[in-house]
């Protein structure tokens, strides 16, 4: 076989191997990202017809009387969940489980993984059942011992419920990253601190926490984007309610504009896409920033061998 022919075959495999994935990425990432902006410039409804309206949807977003409320909701939801659970509880679990018996610690961490791998609908069902208004529901029953009268959590404490439901799923991501980081702290450091007479608390405060600064920043940045764009559990638990937009966040608002069944079934794909476009822009910017700040580029080692 001539060398050109060999080369041709080699290239042929290359494309054969790469084409399915490339096609999927182009068709279901690139084109949809562009389409989101284009649809955002129309007032597309259930007929799926393109009627260009320019920037009307974006002006409407500025004038929409719900925009400030939904913006505030989103900020409140993202930063409360992030602070208390995705970073706070995650740090607490990973540090505590490192300071107890190794096997018991691993068992605790395993339990925290359960909510994440449980199907979202089952997980939401468990919470809704446990927090229903009757005095016999799990939460009200326990609170009854403290003398607190039963409440309908979904209606009377919707934000608390939304944050708890999301938080118990969200904590495990940080937990895994922080645990891996803590495990990689060289023994010399902790031994040196012990020799100097550091208490457990001082060890955590002056040795462990400063050494996992980067992982903490990474989790904070990464989970901000995730929380900003995820609405699955809110949809399942309160669906933005009770009442009008009490727990509605930006991403869910966009979803409701396009796909909400009740309330006239308006199918406002144009306005919904415009709302999504804002999130797509934020998503692209943040993903690129992570790539730069956390030096993900260094992960892109050159191939060990060259086949040309």
């Amino acid at each position: 076989m001539s060398s050109t022919l060999k080369k041709y075959f080699s290239r042929g495999y290359l494309y054969f191997f790469l084409v399915p994935s490339l096609a999927m990425i182009v068709f279901f990432f690139f084109i949809p990202a562009i389409l989101t902006f284009l649809i955002g410039l129309t007032d597309m409804d259930y007929t799926l017809e393109w009627r260009w309206v320019g920037l009307k949807n974006f002006y409407q977003m500025l004038r929409d009387r719900w925009t400030p409320k939904i913006f505030n909701n989103t900020m409140f939801y993202v930063f409360t969940t992030l602070g208390f659970f995705n970073v706070g509880t995650a740090l607490l679990i990973s540090i505590l489980t490192m300071h107890i018996d190794e096997k018991v610690g691993a068992a605790f961490r395993a339990i925290w993984l359960l909510p994440r791998i449980t199907p979202s609908t089952v997980y939401a069902l468990m919470w809704l059942w446990a927090t229903r208004g009757e005095a016999t529901s799990l939460f009200n029953w326990i609170l009854g011992f403290l003398g607190i009268p039963p409440i309908e959590w979904r209606l009377q404490a919707p934000w608390l419920l939304v944050i708890l439901v999301n938080g118990f799923v969200g904590a495990s991501f940080g937990m895994i990253i922080f645990t891996a980081a803590l495990k990689s702290i060289p023994v010399d450091y902790t031994r040196a601190a012990l020799v100097d007479g550091a208490s457990t608390f001082q060890m955590i405060r002056y040795v462990e926490l400063p050494l996992i600064k980067w992982p903490v920043m990474f989790v904070t940045a990464y989970q901000t984007l995730s929380l900003l764009t995820s609405y699955e559990y809110i949809l399942l638990v309160t669906d933005g309610g009770p009442g009008l937009y009490t727990t509605e966040v930006w991403a869910l608002y966009s979803y409701h504009m396009a796909f909400q069944i009740y309330g006239g079934g308006s199918a406002q794909y144009g306005y919904g896409a415009a709302l999504s476009a804002i999130l797509v822009i934020i998503g692209l910017i943040l993903s690129t920033i992570y790539w730069k700040v956390f030096r993900m580029g260094e992960l892109m080692i050159e191939p060990k061998i060259e086949v040309d």
């Binding site: 790469l18 999927m24 199907p119 609908t121 809704l128 799990l138 999504s276």
Partner: protein, 287 residues
Amino acid sequence: MQKKVLRYIKRSIPYIILIFITLPIILLYYSLFISSISTEVIGLIPQGFTLKHWEFLKTGEIRVPGTTTTYYPNLYITTINTFILAVTIAFLEVIFSSLAGYVISRYKFRGRTRLLQIILILHSFPGITLLIALFYILNIMGLYNTLTGVIIIKVALDLPLDIWIMKGFFDGVPWDLEMSALVDGCNRLEAWWKVIMPNVRNGIMAIIIFGFLSGWSEFIYILTFISEQKYWTLSMLVYALTSGEYFYIDPGVTATVAIVYMIPVVLFFLFAQNYLLRIQITSKGTF
């Protein structure tokens, strides 16, 4: 003596805190299980053992108690749909990601760095924000209200992460192995299939488990892109039982459906936790 007691108390503090914050999770799963085998549950205390909530499994028909009306699709048809969805997603993700991961790990070609960069950025980019555009595309392609449509979209959105994981595994296979296969007369395709793939078994397992669970649990895309009950998956069924208030009428049966739905998840949790952990580290998960 007093010192000893003090030290004992001090040592138990982390355990107490951990038990306190972990208890809600344990109690939630306990409640679900206990509801399916009790006539009634008050708080944590079951009132009377029964298996009647499991009886509907004989036919899979979920009925309003005391009537013959069924508002919901048959459990077994729904389970089969879910299974088809999950298996196909896992299968396609393995094929596509091991092909692409191999090329990216082994070949130097124009645009490789750019491609890797895009894959890494996409891996943290939230695909869910593209929902409306994807809805439009599925409609144009005639794939709205088909499981095929949901499968394609799930595979596409999971792929950047899968490729990244597989590339990592291929990077760990020494080039000599492949070289000897080529010298022995394999062509590259044969070398890939016969020599390289068996050496990345762990990666393949990880992608299969991740893909299967990702398809098995999928909810939003089913809710949005499927309009007929005959294509429902278990996530839609559980959602319908919850939002349709059926779970107030018959909490026992609802809990049983949820438990049946959880079976593969629990199996993977018990037997494949290492794979799951490995994926979770690199994965964005649900969020």
